[in-house]
């Protein structure tokens, strides 16, 4: 939290220091409602309607000068479930776009600190620090290639359970007592302290077929070295998105992703390799300073570990007010 406080202080100082050429402060306020049929991401759990509230402040400096473009942001979100417990998060960070002397190559760096709190699944609560670099290459008038390298350090606040026992740590629904399953006696549960070092490499491409049709594809490799071997894995995956954009109508998009997670270890000596995939469809419409949106996402995790299989569907609609 000290790191987040420092970044917030930097943002405040920047806003108050008049000699720095600051761009106007951008503010996004978001509210949405929806239904999630598996918020806890376990194999047997009730769904719930939810409302989400979010605010983001972004301050840019040197945007129209020869100096490197610097941007600070702070983002707070609260997700309120009607029948289950809630979660919230605070993120703050900065990015730096460095002039390369080229009109086609754009290197940049970013840093972010985040705190996530979850009253539904205490296992997931963590503080996180993310550092990364990105290189964009405008190949031609239609194609952009992006290479992104990220390091993240996640410090989990609570001891986490063995794979397959997550459901026993899910909090009960509001006014319903224990949710999901009958709780095991505490003595029967094994828990671990957890912190993760995560290296991620992503190569992405954006192609404009027309002014209105844009496709994004990416491949990603991720190496997660956790203090708990059951949470250490290597991930190989890819994703795609195609959007049709019309300024007077809406942007409509289809997206999909797939990845394989090859775990270092699993309970009972199981060779664990999960397939994690999903697809989504949605629409965004800009009306003045308001963006209306609706989306539908379905994700599936296929795992050989009992209790780690789950399916999840989220339908959501909302609006973002930007000024």
């Amino acid at each position: 939290m000290k790191r987040i406080g420092s970044l917030f202080l930097l943002l405040t100082i920047g806003c108050l220091f008049p000699s720095i050429p600051a761009h106007a402060l951008d503010t996004d306020l978001e509210v949405s409602v929806g239904y999630d049929d598996n918020p806890a991401e376990v194999d047997d759990m009730d769904g719930s309607g939810f409302a989400r509230y979010r605010a983001q402040l972004t301050q840019s400096f040197f945007k129209e000068t020869e100096a490197p473009d610097v941007e600070f942001f702070i983002d707070a979100a609260y997700e309120q479930y009607y029948d289950l417990e809630n979660n919230y998060q605070l993120r703050a960070g900065a990015s730096l776009d460095v002039p390369s002397g080229s009109d086609r190559f754009f290197p940049g760096f970013f840093a972010e600190a985040a705190a996530y709190r979850d009253d539904l699944v205490a296992d997931d609560e963590r503080d996180e620090l993310i550092l990364g670099g990105v290189l964009q290459w405008l190949v031609d008038a239609r194609l952009t290639l992006i290479l992104r390298q990220t390091f993240a350090w996640s410090d989990y606040r609570n001891r986490v359970s063995l794979p397959g026992q997550r459901a026993h740590f899910v909090a009960g629904g509001k006014g319903k007592g224990p949710g999901g399953r009958q709780p095991l006696p505490v003595d029967d549960l094994i828990t671990y302290a957890r912190d993760d070092d995560i290296w991620s490499t992503e190569a992405a491409a954006t192609y404009y077929f027309t002014a209105d049709i844009q496709a994004d594809v990416s491949v990603q490799y991720r190496d997660v070295a956790s203090s708990d071997d059951f949470e250490s894995f290597q991930e190989y995956g890819g994703s795609g998105r195609i959007g049709w954009f019309h300024p007077k109508v809406a942007e409509i998009f289809l997206s999909g992703f797939w990845s394989t997670l090859d775990y270092e270890d699993a309970p009972q000596g199981i060779e664990r390799e999960d397939d994690f995939y999903g697809f989504g469809v949605g629409a965004n419409r800009q009306v003045g300073m308001i963006t209306l949106y609706a989306r539908f996402d379905r994700t599936v995790n296929d795992s050989p570990v009992e209790g780690e299989n789950y399916k999840k569907v989220v339908a959501e609609c909302g609006l973002v007010y930007s000024f």
């Binding site: 978001e30 999630d36 806890a40 991401e41 983001q56 129209e64 941007e71 997700e79 960070g93 990015s95 776009d97 009109d103 754009f106 940049g108 970013f110 972010e112 996530y116 979850d118 539904l120 699944v121 296992d123 997931d124 963590r126 996180e128 993310i130 990105v134 964009q136 405008l138 031609d140 008038a141 239609r142 952009t144 350090w153 996640s154 993760d196 992405a204 954006t206 404009y208 027309t210 002014a211 049709i213 496709a215 997660v224 956790s226 894995f233 795609g240 195609i242 300024p247 942007e251 289809l254 999909g256 992703f257 797939w258 990845s259 397939d275 994690f276 965004n284 963006t291 989306r295 973002v320």
Partner: protein, 137 residues
């Protein structure tokens, strides 16, 4: 899973089939007159049906002043769709659509929409970066 891939592949195929032959220009904004709807552009690359390749590295672009996006500021790299005015040797261009060419360093989001639609729950595999139970997505 297979159906998701199939749908995406079909959509990409349709996109290729309908890709219009209109000109698209990648360039750096030299100057902007928002009231007049005029942009002076340093051309980096252009593609299209080849009927109107620019004869100069600098191009005068006419834009509807009511549809001038925020990304059109001096120094920014942008993509412009439209057509050349007059014959191929003309140095003026009429813009139908404009997109920012350069994404912010921490996100790949030329339209800016996705960045505004921050996603919710960070736990489980839904985690944004490190995240969650299985350090999800």
């Amino acid at each position: 899973m297979r159906s998701c891939l199939f749908i995406l592949i079909v959509c990409l195929g349709i996109s290729v089939a309908v890709a219009e032959a209109s000109e698209v220009i990648l360039g750096v904004v030299n100057a902007v007159d928002r009231e007049q709807g005029l942009v002076t552009l340093k051309v980096i690359d252009s593609s299209g049906n080849g009927s109107g390749q620019p004869a100069s590295e600098t191009l005068s672009v006419a834009v509807n002043p009511d549809q001038m996006p925020d990304c059109v500021v001096p120094g920014n790299t942008i993509r412009i769709w439209g057509e050349y005015l007059g014959d191929g040797s003309s140095l003026s261009f009429r813009a139908d659509s404009i997109r920012g060419g350069q994404a912010n360093g921490r996100r790949n989001d030329p339209t800016g929409v996705r960045s505004r639609l921050g996603r919710g729950r960070q736990g489980g595999r839904g985690g944004r970066m490190g995240g969650g139970r299985s350090s999800g997505r």
